[in-house]
Amino acid sequence: MNAPLHLWLIPLLPFAGFLINGILGKRLPKWLVTTVALLMPLGAFILVLFAAVFTRSGPTDPDVAGAFQLMPYAENLGQWISVGILHVDFTLVLDQLSLVMLLIITGVGLLIHIYSVGYMAHDKGYWRFFAYLNLFLFFMTTLVLAGNVLLMFVGWEGVGLASYLLIGFWFTKKSAADAGKKAFIVNRVGDFGFLIGIFLLLANFGTLTFSEIAAKLAANPAWTGGILTATALCLLVGATGKSAQLPLYVWLPDAMEGPTPVSALIHAATMVTAGVYMIARTHFLFDRSPFALSVVAIVGAATALFAATMGLVQNDIKRVLAYSTISQLGYMFLGCGVAAYSAAIFHLMTHAFFKALLFLAAGSVIHAMGDEQDMRKMGGLRKKIPVTFWTMTAAVFAISGFPPLAAFFSKDAILYAAFLQGTGGEILWFVGLVTALLTSLYMFRLWYMTFLGESRSHDVHPHESPWSMLGPLVILAILSVCGGWIGIGDGLGRFGAFLAPVVGASSTPESSIPHLEWILSGAAVVVALLGWYIADLFYRQKPERPAALAASMPGAYKLLANKYYVDEIYGAVFVKPLLAGSRWLLEGFVDWVVLGGLAWLLGGIAMLSGAILQRWQSGNLRSYAAWLAAGAAAVLLFALMPWLLGGHGVALFLAGH
C-alpha cells in the first residue's frame, strides 16, 4: 500500500505558483505569469485525476463501491506537534469525500483560472490576482485533504485569508476594503466556535485525527448527546461562519466587491461549501446528536428561505447570485441536518457547477456592459452576447430545478430526505419547496431583466467576451446539464454508492405512500414552472407590475430591499457598542488613563527625583569630598554602634583596653 500517490504535491503545486507569482510576478512578463498561474492548478488537477484512477484500479470488483478499496489512502508527512496528550501529524487523507471535493476544487478552480486570464487581462494587479488565487487553491486543498481537525483548521483559516485578500483586491476602493474586513471579522466569530469545538474534541477524545475520533465513537455505541451535542454545535457555529448561514451570512453579499472570478471560485463553488464539507467530514459526531442535527436542518431551511426572499428584490446582478448562493448553501445544510450527507455533497457538486457558471456568465455580462452591474440598466442582451446567454440559460434552468438538469436531482434528493425525516420533516420539506419557488422566481427575474426585452441602456455597446472566458462557460454549462446524471437511481445511484463508505449509505426509510419520490419531484417541477410563470408575468408581459406591487406593499418591499435591516441591527447591537467600548473604555480609559497614566507617573517620578538628586552633582569638589567623609563617618559610627551602646566608656579605650 505504499503507493506513490504524492498527495502532498496537490496543495504544494498551487503554493509554488503563489510563491513564484507573489514574489517575482511584478517583474515577470505577463505570459509567464499566466503560464505559471495556469500550470500549477492544471498540475494539481492532473494529480487528482491520477489519484482517482489509481485508487480505482485497486482489487477490482464489479460492485461500484468495492472498486475503491484503496481508500482511505493516508500519507503521513511527519510530526507536527507533540505536547502532552496532543499529537498532531501532517497527515493527508484521500477518501471518497475528499476526492469529490478535490475534483470540484481543482477542476472548477482550473476553469475559473482560465476564465480569469480573459477577465483580469487589463488589470494592473494581474500577477497579484493569480498569486492570491493559487494561494487559495493551496489552502483549500489542504483543508480538504487534512487528516485531522487542526490541519483542517489551518486550511480553514487560510482560505479565510485568501478570501479577505481577494474581496479587498481593489483595496483602493473603500467599499471593497470594508467588505474584506467584514468577511474576515464575521468569520472570526465562526472560527471561534470552531476552535472551541476543537478544544472539546481534544478534551473528550484525546486526539484530533478524524479516523481515531470515528473509531472511538464506534467503540462506544451508547455515547450520545451531552458533550457531543456541545461539540457538534460549536463546529456548527464555525460552519455557519464559513458557509454564510444564519446568523453569520452577512459577509457574503458584501463579498461581491471582489472580482467576479473570485465570487465564482471562493464565494460560490468552493470555500463557502467548506462548512458543508466539515459537517460531512465529522458526520459521526452529528449522527450521535439528534439535537445538533435538527439545529443544522433548521438553520439550513431558515437560511434557504430567508436568503431567497432577499434575493427577490436585489438589482445588482452579483448580489442576486450571492443571496442565491446563501440560499443554496441552506439547502446543503438542510441535507446535512436530515443526515442525507451524500445528498448534501451531491448538491454541493452540482451547485459548484451551475453557480460557478452563473457567476462567470454574470461576469461576462458585466464585462460586456463595461463594468455595469445594475440589472435595471441591462436588458436585451440575448442577441448581443449569444454564448453567454445560452450558457446562462442552462444555469438558470439548472438551478431552478428543471429535469433533467443538475439541481433537479440534487435538490430533490435533499427535499425527499427532508420529507421522510421523522418529526417536522414535512415542514422542512415545505420550506424547501417554497424556497424552490422563490429560487425559480428570482433566477428568471434575473434572466428576463438581463437578456430579454429591450435594452435599457443606450450608451454602451455590448460585445461578446473572448474565448478564454467563453470556453469555461461552455464546459460548465455541459456539467450543469449532465452533472446530475450520476446521481440517478435509488440512494443517489452511483454517486451515493461511491460516497457510502465515508458518510454512510443514504438509508432513506421506505415510505408508506406509493411513488412518493415521483410525487415530490412533480411538486418541485410544478413550483419551478410556477416561478417561471410569475417571473414571465412580472418581467416580460407587464414590466410595470413589479413597481406597482412594490408600491402597494411599501412596508414589505422596504423590508426586503433593506435586507430585513439585519446589517443595521448587527451594526446597532454589536458593532456600535464594540466600537464605542473600544473608543471610550479601551482607548479612552485603559489606554490613556491607566497605561498612559502609569507611564507618565513613572516618568514623573524619575524626572522629579532626578531634579532633586541633580543638586548633589554641584561640580564642587569639596562638597563631594564632604559627602565622602560624612559617608565614611556614618559607616564608622555604624560599625562602632554595638561597642558604644555596650557601656564601655571612652575612658576604657583611652586606658589601652
Binding site: Q614, S618, N620, L654, G656
Partner: protein, 106 residues
C-alpha cells in the same frame, strides 16, 4: 619608675593618628588652595601610617611596617603626578582655587 621608662599606651598613638587624619579631612574639605588640599591628603596618609606602625609594634608584626612603605611609595608617586597636574591647572586657568575649577558642573 620614672615617667620616661613608662611605656606610652597604645591609645595615645591611635588618638594622635585619628587627630592627624581628622585634621587632614577637615583641611581637605575647607581649604581652597589646591596645594593645601594636596598637603591635607598627605596628612591623612601619614595619619594612617602612624596607626600601621603602632599596630606593627604592638603585635610584633612586620607586615604593618611594610604597608607603610607601600603607602609612602604611592604617596611619592602621587605627589609627583599631583604636582604636575596642579602646575598644568595653574598654567591653564591661572588660579588654584578649587571652587573655580568646576568644569564638570552641570
Amino acid at each position: 619608675m620614672s615617667l620616661l621608662h613608662q611605656e606610652v599606651p597604645l591609645s595615645w598613638y591611635l588618638l594622635l593618628s585619628a587627630a592627624l587624619f581628622s585634621l587632614g579631612v577637615v583641611g581637605f574639605l575647607i581649604k581652597r588652595n589646591l596645594i593645601t588640599v594636596f598637603m591635607s591628603i598627605e596628612l591623612m596618609l601619614n595619619g594612617v601610617n602612624l596607626s600601621f606602625v603602632t599596630f606593627a609594634h604592638q603585635w610584633h608584626q612586620v607586615k604593618g611596617q611594610i604597608f607603610v612603605f607601600f603607602v609612602m611609595m604611592v604617596a611619592a608617586a602621587e605627589a609627583a603626578v599631583g604636582l604636575a597636574i596642579i602646575i598644568a591647572v595653574f598654567r591653564a586657568r591661572a588660579t588654584l582655587a578649587v571652587d573655580r575649577i568646576d568644569l564638570m558642573k552641570l
